[in-house]
C-alpha cells in the first residue's frame, strides 16, 4: 500500500486503478507501480508531492527530490565503471612495461584490452536501451522515468498499396442534443 499526498492545488489526478481526485488531496493506492504514479504526476505537471510507503514497518516518505537522486546515482555508477576500466588499463600497461620487450605477453595484453573494449561497449549499449527522459523540458532536474518503447510492438500501417472500392458504412441516425450536453459537460469540468 502506497499513500500519495499531492500538495499543489488545481490538478485532476487520475492514477489507473484509483478514483480520480482534485488536488490538494491524499489517497491510498493499494496496487500501483511507483513508476506509473511518477509518470502520471509528471504528465499533469505536479511538482509538490509526497509518496508515503511502509518499509520494514516504518513510514518512508519520498518526494520529487528522491527521484532526482536516483538519476545522479546512475550517473555516478557509470563514472565508476569508467574509472575502473581506466585503472585496469593502467595496470595492464604497467604489467606490459615490466615485461620489457617480450612480444608474447604484450600481445596477450592487447587481446585482453580488446576484449575489455568489447565488454565495455556491451555494457554501455545495455545502459542506453533504458533511455532516461525528462517529462518536462523546462524542468531539467525533474524526476526521471523510463521510456517504455512499447510502440515497436504496434504494427505499422501502410495504405499505399490498398484501395477501397465503395463504402462499407451506412447512416443509421442523426446526432441529437450533443451541443447542449457538450456545453453542460464542459462547464461541469470547468473548461469554459
Amino acid at each position: 500500500m502506497i499513500k500519495l499526498n499531492v500538495k499543489e492545488r488545481g490538478h485532476v489526478i487520475s492514477i489507473p486503478g484509483t478514483t480520480p481526485f482534485r488536488s490538494p488531496g491524499k489517497i491510498n493506492i493499494p496496487d500501483a507501480k511507483l513508476s506509473l504514479i511518477i509518470t502520471t504526476l509528471n504528465n499533469v505537471g505536479v511538482q509538490n508531492y509526497e509518496i508515503i510507503s511502509m518499509e520494514n514497518g516504518k513510514e518512508k516518505i519520498l518526494t520529487k527530490k528522491d527521484f532526482e537522486k536516483s538519476k545522479k546515482q546512475k550517473k555516478q555508477d557509470m563514472s565508476k565503471i569508467e574509472e575502473r576500466f581506466n585503472k585496469l588499463e593502467g595496470m595492464l600497461f604497467a604489467l606490459a612495461k615490466s615485461q620489457g620487450n617480450k612480444p608474447q605477453p604484450s600481445e596477450q595484453i592487447t587481446n585482453k584490452l580488446e576484449a575489455l573494449e568489447e565488454l565495455s561497449k556491451k555494457i554501455l549499449e545495455k545502459e542506453s536501451v533504458r533511455k532516461i527522459v525528462y517529462t518536462s523540458s523546462k524542468e531539467k532536474d525533474g524526476p526521471i522515468v523510463e521510456e517504455l518503447d512499447d510502440d515497436k510492438y504496434i504494427p505499422d500501417i501502410d495504405l499505399s498499396e490498398l484501395e477501397l472500392r465503395g463504402s462499407s458504412s451506412k447512416k443509421i441516425g442523426k446526432v441529437e442534443g450533443a451541443e447542449e450536453a457538450a456545453d453542460m459537460l464542459s462547464k461541469l469540468k470547468g473548461r469554459s
Binding site: 510502440d151 495504405l159 446526432v175
Partner: protein, 355 residues
C-alpha cells in the same frame, strides 16, 4: 495513452477564437461487432460491421463485385468488408475475419490493421482541410480475466494518427454516461453489454469514480448456450438475433428452436445476475466516495437489445441490497449509437474547453 491526449495536441499553437478554423468533432465506438461514428459537422451517425473476408482475386470475377464493398490489395489480395463479408462468407463456406475479439484487437488478425484503417477512414469520412478531434472508445481492464487494454488502445491510436485526426481514448461506459445522463449532470451507473465484454462505469458529476469490465457478455451467452445444447455458437447467435425475447410468449413452434431460446433465457439471466454481483462488489470495494443522491442505472449495448432485457435486469436488481440508491433503471435511447454519441459529446466538450 492519456485520456487527455486532446489537451496535448497543437491547440496551444492555434490563434484563439479563430472562426476560420474548420473544426470537426468525432466520436468513434470501436466495438467487437460494429464500428460506429458520430460526426459534429454532418450530425450523422454511421455504422459498419467490424468484419472482413479475405478472398483470392483469381477465385473471383472482380467485375461481379460492382455492388460490393471491398479493399483491393497488392498481388492477389482482396478483402470484402462490412455486411457484404457475411454474405460472401456463406457463399464461399468460409468464416469471416474479425479484427476484434472479446472487446479487444484480436491477436489473430494483426495483419488486418491496414484493412481496419481503411474501414475507419471510410466511416469517419473526409478530414481534408479540417481540424478533426476524435474520442475513441476503449474498454476498462477486465476484472475476471488476465488481459490488458494497452495494445488495443495503442493500435487504434496509431490508426487514427494515420488517418490524420487528433485523438483521445475514452472509456466506453463513461461515453454512455455522457450520452444518457445529461439531466443528472452526468451522474449514474452505465453498463454496456457488448458482444465481447460488459463494461461498467460509475460516474459522479462527470468524474469517473470507478470503471471495470467483465469478460462475460453476448458471446459468452451464445457460447455457453451452444455448449449446453451441443451446437455451434453461430447457429445460436442466428436464433438469438431472429427470435430472442426475454418477456412474453415465445412465438416459435420448432421444438429445437424453443430449446435454444430457453437456454438463451437462462444464460441471459445468469449474465445479468453475474454483472449485478460484480457491480455491487466493485462499488463496495473500490468506490471511495459518499454519494448522497440516487443514481440512474443505464443499460446499453447490442446484447441488451432483446425485448425484456431491461425488465429482467430490474427484477434481478430488486433481489439485492445495493450499496447505492437507484433512481431508475433505463435503457439507452439507442443502445447501438449511445457510445458514439457520448464520445462525440465528450470530444465537443474537450474542444470547447480549449478554443
Amino acid at each position: 495513452m492519456s485520456e487527455d491526449k486532446i489537451e496535448d495536441v497543437k491547440v496551444e499553437e492555434q490563434p484563439k477564437k479563430n472562426k476560420n478554423r474548420n473544426i470537426v468533432s468525432v466520436g468513434l465506438d470501436c466495438g467487437t461487432m460494429h464500428l460506429v461514428a458520430a460526426r459534429s459537422d454532418t450530425n450523422d451517425v454511421k455504422v459498419t460491421r467490424n468484419v472482413f473476408l479475405p478472398v483470392d482475386k483469381e477465385e473471383i470475377d472482380i467485375t461481379k463485385l460492382s455492388q460490393i464493398n471491398y479493399v483491393k490489395g497488392t498481388d492477389n489480395e482482396l478483402y470484402i468488408i462490412g455486411s457484404d463479408a457475411f454474405e460472401f462468407a456463406n457463399l464461399f463456406g468460409q468464416a469471416v475475419s474479425r479484427p476484434m475479439e472479446k472487446g479487444l484487437i484480436s491477436s489473430k488478425e494483426i495483419s488486418a490493421i491496414d484493412v481496419l484503417t481503411l474501414m475507419i477512414k471510410d466511416l469517419i469520412g473526409s478530414v481534408k482541410d479540417k481540424e478533426v478531434y476524435c474520442s475513441y472508445s476503449v474498454p476498462a481492464e477486465p476484472i475476471d480475466e488476465e488481459r490488458t487494454i494497452i495494445y488495443h488502445e495503442k493500435v487504434f491510436a496509431r490508426i487514427l494518427n494515420n488517418i490524420g485526426v487528433n485523438y483521445t481514448s475514452v472509456n466506453e461506459a463513461m461515453a454512455i454516461i455522457y450520452s444518457e445522463c445529461a439531466k443528472e449532470q452526468f451522474s449514474g451507473i452505465a453498463i454496456s453489454f457488448g458482444a465481447g465484454m460488459a463494461n461498467c462505469a460509475i460516474s459522479y458529476k462527470g468524474i469517473e469514480a470507478h470503471k471495470f469490465s467483465t469478460a462475460r457478455s453476448g458471446d459468452w451467452i451464445d457460447k455457453e448456450a451452444a455448449s449446453s445444447l451441443d451446437m455451434v455458437p453461430n447457429r445460436v447467435t442466428n436464433i438469438k438475433e431472429k427470435y430472442m425475447k426475454l418477456s412474453g410468449e415465445v412465438e416459435v413452434k420448432a421444438k429445437q428452436t424453443k430449446r435454444v431460446l430457453e437456454a438463451l433465457y437462462y444464460y441471459h439471466e445468469a449474465l445479468i445476475d453475474y454483472t449485478i454481483k460484480k457491480v455491487i462488489k466493485e462499488f463496495e470495494d473500490k468506490v471511495d466516495m459518499e454519494v448522497d443522491e440516487k443514481l440512474p442505472v443505464i443499460i446499453s449495448g447490442g446484447t441488451s437489445l432483446p425485448e425484456g432485457f431491461v425488465k429482467l435486469f430490474k427484477s434481478s436488481l430488486e433481489g439485492y441490497e445495493l450499496p447505492f440508491d437507484v433512481s431508475e433503471v433505463r435503457h439507452a435511447k439507442n443502445p447501438l449509437t449511445a457510445v458514439a454519441n457520448g464520445l462525440l459529446i465528450r470530444t465537443m466538450a474537450d474542444v470547447k474547453g480549449k478554443i
